[in-house]
């Protein structure tokens, strides 16, 4: 029986991972943080993250803020 062609997909280089990349290099992520900040203003004080967004300078820090907000908003993950 003929088999489907299998195409190999190489793995990215280990050096590709750069969570310390400056957020200023990615306007999309910068705005992603701002969008969540706008929603956070509507949350009760006890449910806010307490993270000042001015302190978010890297991609990894942005991801951490976005994670905290997503968990708060997404009920299946335990959100509000």
């Amino acid at each position: 029986m003929p088999q489907p062609p299998v195409i190999r997909v190489p793995k990215p280089s280990r050096s590709s991972y750069q969570p310390h990349r400056l957020l200023s290099k990615n306007s999309l992520l910068q705005n992603h943080v701002k969008h969540f900040r706008e929603l956070e203003k509507d949350l009760p004080p006890g449910q806010q993250t307490g993270m000042p967004i001015d302190s978010i300078l890297t991609e990894g820090q942005a991801a951490e803020y976005i994670r905290r907000m997503t968990v708060r908003l997404h009920r299946p993950l335990g959100g509000v």
């Binding site: 062609p5 190489p10 999309l28 969008h35 994670r67 968990v71």
Partner: protein, 406 residues
């Protein structure tokens, strides 16, 4: 109705980030002249007025750093240089000049013309040559991500051309809300909570039940639990995983690694492909939100106005009525019911060419799963739909590639 359409139960859309058609797929013209890619003779003038040629030198990472400007004003320069904008016809001559505005380095500015050599993108190139490749799929707006992604979700950006959060204007609803109201099933799968959903954070707040993670997508494919319509988002950032490992951004947004995106696309395809029932009842559309400031040679066509006027503060003072499209992006429709190596002609074929944009996504989903539905934007109502590409004949398994991820 074709047998392929008759069998269709699920549509999955995967939207990647910020790469133009020619950058990713332009090389494929050499092997198949029906593909409206690059001849190799295309150039743009640099700031010394020397021609910067296209070249098959694109790399996976570290080449488009800093990020090319793709704000609305920058894209107008890319499209119309040396003119300022309409009524001039897009020249596609301002990409190098625009990249020079970001970093004043003549040699570096030429890299905006680079494209991936044949075979360097095994996933995207294989899918493009195996299923249906669109020669004429354009971003909805000559501008950045958020407003373009809005067209995929709502069929409009509600008058926005920038990255700001936006608010829905009645009577329009997202395609997800329409589906739920019609008792259909739908999910937006984001990668993980640290990446989350892009552009539709308002939906996440107000309709959290329609969201799930990439891992859930994989599980739903395996268990035959995929909804009628799925929208999949890549990972938008490098960040630690829950297990302490490294999650590499897979969106292909410069300067994220393009190979990580290749692996992500392959994983979505394999998840559908490896469930035989799902494979024969699913159509997968892979596309990109916009070009990210990277060169493409096809002038974006005009389109029907959307009923909104953009703020002059956002357009750099240029009036814009959402009456012309953004830069061309890759788009591939995958299904075993698609004839091998289908090329859907675009503007290069005045007789048979078809023009698609992101409003084609909600237009297609609404038409297939709901039927008549009036409360849609003018752009969505006028948008081409794409499920007519499914044929009466299902290709044998041996004719459909699989991917093995290293």
């Amino acid at each position: 109705m074709s047998a392929g359409l008759d069998n269709l139960k699920h549509v999955v859309v995967l939207m990647m980030e910020n790469r133009s058609f020619d950058h990713m797929l332009g090389a494929l013209r050499a092997a198949d002249p029906r593909i409206n890619g690059l001849t190799g003779n295309e150039t743009n003038p640099d700031t010394t007025n020397e021609p910067a040629p296209v070249a098959p030198l694109a790399e996976f990472q570290s080449q488009l750093d800093p990020d090319p400007d793709h704000s609305f004003p920058a894209v107008q320069k890319q499209l119309f240089f040396p003119a300022a904008g309409p009524p001039a016809v897009p020249s596609m001559q301002g990409f190098v000049q625009s990249y020079s505005d970001v970093e004043h380095n003549v040699a570096h500015s030429h890299k905006i013309m680079y494209y991936f050599a044949p075979g360097k993108l095994p996933v995207l190139h294989t899918l493009a040559q195996s299923y249906a490749l669109f020669n004429g799929w354009f971003a909805s707006i000559p501008g950045p991500t958020v407003c373009n992604r809005a067209f995929a979700h709502y069929g409009t950006s509600f008058g926005k051309v920038n990255l700001d959060i936006f608010y829905v204007v009645e009577p329009y609803q997202s395609v997800y809300e329409r589906l739920l109201a019609a008792n259909r099933t739908t999910k937006l799968y984001y990668f993980d909570p640290s990446s989350s959903t892009q552009e539709v954070v308002n939906l996440l707040k107000n309709q959290p039940q329609i969201f799930a993670t990439y891992q859930q997508f994989l599980d739903d494919c395996k268990n035959g639990a995929l909804p009628d319509y799925s929208f999949v988002e890549p990972n938008y950032s490098d960040h630690p995983g829950d297990d302490g490992g490294e999650q590499l951004a897979s969106d292909q947004h410069p300067d994220h690694d393009v190979q990580a995106g290749e692996q992500f696309i392959a994983s979505i395809y394999n998840a559908i492909r490896q469930n035989p029932d799902l494979w024969q009842s699913t159509a997968l559309l892979i596309t990109y939100d916009e070009h990210g400031g990277i060169y493409d040679h096809v002038p974006p066509p005009a389109c029907i106005p959307d009923g909104f006027q953009a703020s002059l503060a956002d357009t750099g003072g240029m009036p814009f009525a959402f009456d012309r499209l953004g830069v061309r992006v890759p788009a591939i429709l995958v299904s075993p019911w698609i004839a091998k190596a289908t090329v859907v002609p675009g503007p290069e074929d005045p007789a048979n060419g078809r023009v698609f944009e992101h409003a084609s996504i909600p237009a297609t989903i609404t038409q297939h799963f709901i039927g008549n539905y009036d409360n849609r934007s003018p752009r969505e109502k006028a948008a081409q739909t794409f499920l007519d590409l499914l044929t009466d004949e299902m290709r044998p398994d041996a004719d459909c590639p699989s991917f093995q991820l290293d």
